[in-house]
Structures are given as C-alpha cells and as structure tokens.
Amino acid sequence: MAPLITIKDLGVAFHGVPVVRGVDLALRKGEALGLVGESGSGKSVTWLAALGLLPRNARVSGSVRLDGRELLGAPAAELDRIRGGRVAMIFQDPASALNPVLTIRRQLCEALALHRHLSGDAVKAEARRLLDLVGIPDAARRLSAYPHEFSGGQVQRIMIAMALAGNPDLLIADEPTTALDATIQAQILELLSTIRREMSMAMVLISHDLGVVAENCDRVAVMYAGRIVEEAPANQLFADPVHPYAQGLIGALPPLDGPRRRLTAIPGTVPDSARMPSGCAFAPRCALAEEPCGRMAPTLAPIAEDRAVACVRAEASRRALLGIAAE
C-alpha cells in the first residue's frame, strides 16, 4: 500500500543550529506510529515542520509528501486546507488551544464551516454529533458552554472533536495526555483508539511516556538529539531494543511488578544542540561506544524486516542484551 505521508531527509535549524537532522518517516493509512524521546529530541519540531507550523526563523529542508503532494513550500492556501482538514493536530495543553471567550459551539462550527463547508442546521447537528462521539455527556446543552466550564479531560475531548471536524486521515497527537491524571489519561487514550479504529484514521502519537506509546501504537520511532535512532514494531522494540539509547530508556523505567531492581540510569545529559558531538550524538553517554562512534554519525540502517537502527555497535549491543559474550 502506498504510504499516506512520507518524510524524507527532513532537517530543521534555528539560527543555524540544527535541531532535526535527516529524519525519514513514512506512515500508511490507518497506522499508529509512536514517536518517543526526551525533551529537545526534536519529536514535536519534526511534525510542526512537516505541516509548515514553525516560525519564519526556522530553516526547513528535505521533503514531506502527503499522498505524493509536496507540503514543504506549498502555497499557504493549500496548507490551510490540509491542516485541520486531512491532517489534524492536538496538543498537550488543550485549554490554551481554545478561545476562552467563545462558546464550544462557535469554535466547533468554525472548524466545520472551514473544512466541511456545512452551514445552518447541518453544522449544528454535526457539532452535536462530534461532542457525542467524544463522550461529552448532555452534548446538546453543553455546546453553549465556554471552555472554562469543562474539566481538563473534557477540554481534551473537545479538542479531539475539533480535530475530527475535518474528517482527517491523519491525527498528530502531541503529548495529548501528559497534563492529565492517570485515570483520565486512560479514558482519553481509549477514546483515541476507538475513534481511530472506527474512522480508520492514521495517528502519530508523540510522547515521552514509553508505556503510553507501547500500548497505543503499531510502530515506534525513538528520537535522540534530532535523529531517529531506532524504528521497530512496538512489541519488538520493547521486548528487544537494539540501540543503546532505546535500551537505556526502557531500563530507566521503574517496573510496576516483580522484583525491584536498581534503575539503569543513562549517565550524563542530552547534548546541547549548539554543541553537538561529532559522530554519534549518544556516544558520550554510551557504555558501548568505541573509537568509530566519535568519527561519523551512523545512518538508520535496516537490521530486519520493519526494523532499523542507527548504531555502528548494533551487533555488540544486541549481544549485550541477550547476554552473549562477544567473541
């Protein structure tokens, strides 16, 4: 099947400082892709750049194709149709994405009028259907309420309703549940997966939470310092991570059951994007780093079907994980 969206060699730089470097990603129709990484790894910037949402001082290079149409450098009018239409986005802080002085009806109807060209009673009926769909009780009456009259979880549901207004083929969810309590996070994630199944919508789930990504995505890409370092089907990545950074992230997560073990923390901190080490950006923190790691940044290379890793020590790393002594 032809991919829905293809990102090729995407680069983003602010004031000459590269923050995203050589990112390749592709998403099929209806697929859920998780993007994990720590703050500053470039996971949000990648998609903001792809949709032309970065400020003018950002230098974006490479190619982003939606159904074969190039998005980078596309005319503003075309991007306006795509954003909120075929591709929708929701963010961590839904309250700041809504206008506090307009009713939910006004804001939902605006999105519907723009992207679906509905008007009159049809638009009101559709707004109500969307609120019902995202599980806001008493939707008909709640349409005339203002954002502050809803709880944090409900506001995120409303944002999801607005995102669905344009019948998108792709939803970019950027840390959609990070600001929510655990039981509400579970509700929102369940809602997203139900909607995704029913509308066969593709989703990119950007999160720092490995658990959230593992449970809700088919495939996961791990980002570190502006690059993708490993890409794999979700179950394989968590059972058998190959890149030392991916292994480190999973080892750093305290277990919820079984015996307690000392956490395997990754030493040091993420490098400053203005002072990136030459070669592999993870090498200074990597226990397996050897001399070639400092010379050249490794490229993402396939190691199995559906799996790719950017690490020259991938073989050694895999052995270390499986407990096989290197010969």
Partner: protein, 330 residues
Amino acid sequence: MSGPLVEVSSISRSYSMRSGMFGRSTAVHAVDRVSLTMRKGETLGLVGESGSGKSTTGRIVLGLEPPDHGEVRFDGKPMATPGTPAWRAQRAHMQMIFQDPLGALDRRLPVAAQIREPLDIHGLGTPLEREERVRELLRAVELTPAHGVRYPGALSGGQRQRIVLARALATKPDFLVCDEPVSALDVSIQAQVVNLLADLQAQLALTLLFISHDLRVVRQISNVVAVMYLGRIVEIGSADDLFARPEHPYTQALVSASPAPGRRSAGRIVLAGDPPNPAARPQGCAFHPRCPRAVARCASEVPALSHVGGNRQVACHLVTGPQAETRDAA
C-alpha cells in the same frame, strides 16, 4: 527500622472557596482525618491524582501550615508553633523538595551559596567548616565543586534537582518530604535522581515522605504506600503487595491505568466520570460515583479505613463490609 519518627494523627484541613466574585463561600476539605506513621529510615509513598490532598498533607506534616484538627508528632514531641525558636530548631531536622527546582532556587546566586544558606541560618559550624560541608554535599549528590560556582540557569534540570537535594541535606535532616521531585525530569534523568535518592536514604538513614502521582517511581522508592482520594486515605499497605494486589477499586483502577511496555491495553479498568472536585465531595464514599462496583450503602455511609490482614488497611464497604464476606463465601 525502629520506632516512629513522624506520627500524624487524624489531621484535617479545609479552605473556604468562593465560586465567582459574589458566590457563596464553600468549605473545601483538602485533607480529611488523615493518619500516618513513618518509622525511622522508612519511605512512605503518598499517591493520588490532582486535588487528592497529598501535597497539603505534606505541608501540614512539615508544619508549613497548621491542621484545623489533629496533631503531628515528630520524634515523640508535638510540632512547635510555626515561627518560634523551638519550631526553627525542629525544622532543621526536616526538609522539603519540590517538583520545580528552578522555582526553588535563586537564579541570581551561585548554587554553592544556596547550599550553604541553611548552614548560615541555623548557625552550623565555622565558616571554614561550612565551605567543607558544601563541597561534601556536592560530592554526595554526584556533582563537583565546579558545578557549585554556576548559576541555576547554567545547570540542567537534573543537576538543579541535585542542588536542591544537597541544600535540603545541609542541616543533616532526619526527615525529608519530597513533593513530585522527579516529575519534571526526563526518564533517563529521573532514573539518576531516583537512584541517588535511594542511595542517600540508605547511607543517611533518612525517613522520607515521597509524594507523587507516578506509581512506578513511588513503588521503586517506597516501603509503604498510601493512596489518597479526595482528602482521605483509601488504602495503605506495603509497596510491592499493594501494587500486586490492590484491594480498593480506586487503587485497582490506578494500577490498571498505568501503561506498561509490552502489554496491550486489553482488560484495562477505565473509570467513567470526571476527576473529583474537592469542593463538591460526594456523600458517603467519595469514590462511589465513579466506582464500577458501588452498591447502595456506598452512597450513604463513609467507609472507615480498616485492617484487612497483613499490614493492609482499606476504606471500602465492598472489601471490609458484610458484602465482602458473602462474596468470599460464594
């Protein structure tokens, strides 16, 4: 582990809140009859969602605000009145760490000077000894004297939290309240700080009250865990056992809501309804409107925290009431 260092008996705290400028003021029971015992060298984890009263509990335990009812005893003695010399002397033995290290540090002062400040305030040691103690503290949190001359802005989030920790340890406290100390940190850095905290606790025989919404982190560091919901403790027990076999329906939902790599979300308990509003506390068991197993009695009668075997206590009619017995018999 020995006798209790901190004993909290039935503390309550309510605030009055107005809805709108002219609305009637209503009492919000942030903390309602909470009792806790922390033994020397032990870590008690306090978990709950926002508005559950876990931070207020921490503040009352430290004497940062007085309880309306109830009492906190530290090392056998009641907490002194805040502001008095006796209170200050007592406070040197207990410290607090918050979520946001940048907010807890002065941006215009090198961090070493900030670590030294409590030593100056409490008049501990000669100036030379204080300098040496600052170096020792920096080493204890795995930083170097070179970090000490920097300003908070020049340090990473994890390093700042280490500085806050070093400062909290300056007066050699016996008791530390940590309120979401690693929640703002990335996973790999969070693991560093959690390991450090566990090491320091073992070395210094610290007693910790560890407040967090993150069940994984709490389990990693705690001996005993208490779960709060709308100002009350609904379940308390030893950490491993509590997470392996939660009894209270709310604890069960919390444990089930915690996503785990390698597990699909099948069989997850997803609670209906919104997070609780402390200003509109439901009658009876506060959890009953969201509880998948609630019965008529839950809406009218407040369940008491009762022992259910081992060191577990649960506040739920279904676990401790007659229904529980019939359920077991069936």
